[in-house]
């Protein structure tokens, strides 16, 4: 099967910002995320012949990016949290929502980022993360409920 050079380049040009924004949440900021995404696409380009085509090309590149990001990211949750706080989510933009996002368990939070920053479908999130679509749906439902409640609470307090 394999993927063509053009397909990978097209994916990169179309989706680079989404990749960088999502990866920034696990790599600790925009600059390290940029490095991870460049490396991920470089690796995908080199290994394009090995793409088996049993899922989408985008999900395959997401998996490569996650592998690189998780190997490079601090494993300590506290460190990830501090990087998130300092380097990516700017609380002054939307303090209540940022706080609500930070209160989500890590896995739930990442699925939210993939859905809303990465604009991935349930199927693509499942493929990228190696979890079932049902788990994606349940995780997103819980996360949405938490985040909407935070927004709702903020509205009620005003």
């Amino acid at each position: 099967m394999g993927a063509s050079e053009q397909e990978i380049e097209e994916l990169y040009r179309r989706r680079y910002v989404a990749f960088r924004n999502v990866i920034a949440t696990v790599a600790g900021g925009r600059e390290p995320a940029r490095d991870v995404v460049q490396d991920a696409f470089a690796q995908a380009f080199r290994r394009r012949e090995t793409f088996r085509g049993d899922g989408s090309l985008e999900a395959w590149v997401w998996r490569i990016a996650f592998r690189i990001a998780f190997a490079a990211a601090p494993r300590d949750l506290a460190a990830i949290e501090s990087l998130l706080e300092e380097a990516f989510l700017e609380p002054e933009r939307d303090p209540d929502l940022v706080y609500a996002i930070r209160s989500l368990p890590p896995r739930r939070r990442l699925v939210v980022f993939l859905r809303y920053f990465g604009d991935l479908s349930y199927e693509e999130i499942a493929e990228a993360c190696g979890i079932s679509e049902g788990t994606v749906a349940a995780t997103l439902a819980k996360a949405r409920a938490d985040l909407l409640a935070a927004i709702d609470r903020e509205g009620a307090e005003r």
Partner: protein, 450 residues
């Protein structure tokens, strides 16, 4: 949830996105084409090794400087922090210890470290040293009645790089009780609150007077006394809001971050980190197939199940296959963890059970006939910061070392083919390396991070 709610959320979240496009396809091509795959891998491996070694040297220097400033952990390594427990407190411990399947030596003396009250309950933190373990025991009287125990390996404190070592984080004190709270929104919105207090405790270096903990928007200070700290979250904390930062130091000085693993965590379990930059990466020799001769001949080594007060029915394989032979081995007689080695079923499969808590048993069965040298598992009762790396090795293995992710190498107690060592989760992933009698590397197994 309504479609309106979803689009509102999408709109608010999109405002947080960084729209800047700094893409550079030429850079991707350079990265892809300038370095062939294999060379790139080797280069990265070497670079990772160099970086890791440099970090280890830096951390060691920093740790030494820090230890010198704060006096190290001499209170725990060579002293006796706190005061002797009262006869009643000592007697309660001895009774609980006698009931345990993994008891400490009978002469173990408790030291009282911290006593405090919170929401109608009295919390008493005790400590003691036993072999290569520094153990803390928390008892709670009142509404949250119960007891918790957690141990830290002594070696963690010898070359400690932080001014405190965490034993347990966010554990429910006594019996955990939960309640649903909050408003219901669209029939799906309620939060879980923990009605029992959540406790975190550990040991501190000499001179430490402040231990600060952060969780959610809150910042709290632990009780610090007698080279220990204890923090109680007793205001009905929400489940999911966990402690995410701990720092410690002297009053008036900058606080230093204390590493801890927290609850077992992995964003996507399909990608556990296996990168251990230290230790041997290849074996010197593939030894011939070996078994464990003393088990084959049913030699009565260690203790019988009856002598160790362990019911046969609690062991792995007891119900499905039947146990033909079982012995309880204590690889390090000064430590409390035991390994039960059994032969089960008609084919006499070799099984192991690790006993790491008062009643905690886990295990599995495997065979050496396919060339395996040793089994390896990791048990964390109650989400403790340190867990027992344990297993059994065949007769070809003369000794085992564990290479931790900070560059330290610890010898692993091995006796009668059973081994066990307490390892902090922050030092995983790690490599378990087996040597033969001629000191040649004959087996390597990587233990993933948890």
């Amino acid at each position: 949830m309504t479609r309106h709610g979803d689009s509102l959320l999408a709109e608010r979240l999109s405002a947080l996105e960084d729209p800047r496009d700094d893409s550079d396809w030429e850079d991707v091509l350079r990265r892809a084409l300038e370095q062939p795959l294999e060379r790139s891998r080797r280069f990265r491996g070497r670079r990772a090794l160099l970086i890791a070694a440099a970090i280890a040297v830096l951390m060691l220097a920093l740790g030494v400087a820090l230890a010198a400033t704060l006096g190290g952990f001499s209170g725990w390594l060579s002293g006796k922090p706190g005061s002797p427990a009262s006869p009643t407190e000592q007697s309660a411990f001895q009774q609980a210890n006698a009931r345990s399947w993994a008891a400490f030596p009978t002469g173990t003396k408790l030291r009282r470290l911290i006593v405090t009250r919170s929401e109608g309950s009295t919390y008493r933190l005790f400590g003691f040293r036993s072999g290569d373990e520094i153990c803390l025991r928390l008892t709670v009287d009142g509404a949250d009645r119960g007891a918790l125990m957690s141990c830290i390996p002594r070696l963690e404190l010898v070359k400690a790089k932080a001014p405190a070592a965490v034993a347990l984080v966010d554990a429910p004190a006594g019996k955990a009780r939960y309640e649903l709270t909050g408003r219901r929104i669209g029939g799906s919105r309620q939060r879980v609150r923990i009605r029992s207090g959540l406790v975190s405790f550990g040991v501190t270096a000499d001179g430490v007077s402040i231990v600060e903990l952060l969780y959610g928007r809150h910042r709290g200070r632990a009780r610090v006394a007698n080279n220990a700290f204890l923090y109680i979250r007793s205001n009905h904390p929400y489940a999911g809001v966990t402690i995410d930062r701990i720092s410690a130091g002297e009053s008036g000085n900058h606080l230093t971050a204390v590493p801890f693993a927290g609850r077992p965590y992995e964003p996507f379990t399909s990608h556990p980190s296996m990168n251990v930059p230290f230790g041997p990466s290849r074996v010197d020799l593939n030894p011939p197939l070996r078994s464990i001769e003393w088990i084959r001949h049913h030699e009565p080594r260690g203790l019988s199940l009856a002598q160790a007060h362990i019911p046969r029915s609690s062991l792995y394989g007891a119900h499905s296959y039947g146990i033909n032979f079982a012995r309880v081995i204590q690889p390090d007689p000064r430590n409390h963890v035991r390994v039960v080695m059994t032969q089960v079923g008609r084919r006499n499969a070799l099984c192991e059970n690790w006993i790491v808590g008062a009643r905690a048993v886990t295990g599995g069965c495997f065979g050496f006939e396919n060339g395996r040298l040793f089994s390896a598992g990791y048990a964390i009762p109650g989400g403790e910061e340190s867990g027992a790396v344990s297993g059994i090795a065949n007769d070809a293995v003369a000794r085992l070392d564990i290479f931790l992710n900070d560059g330290e190498r610890w010898p692993v107690p091995l006796k009668d083919n059973a081994y066990v060592i307490l390892v902090p989760r922050i030092l995983l992933p790690a490599k378990l390396v087996a040597y033969d009698a001629q000191n040649r590397v004959i087996g390597i197994q990587t233990l993933p991070g948890i």
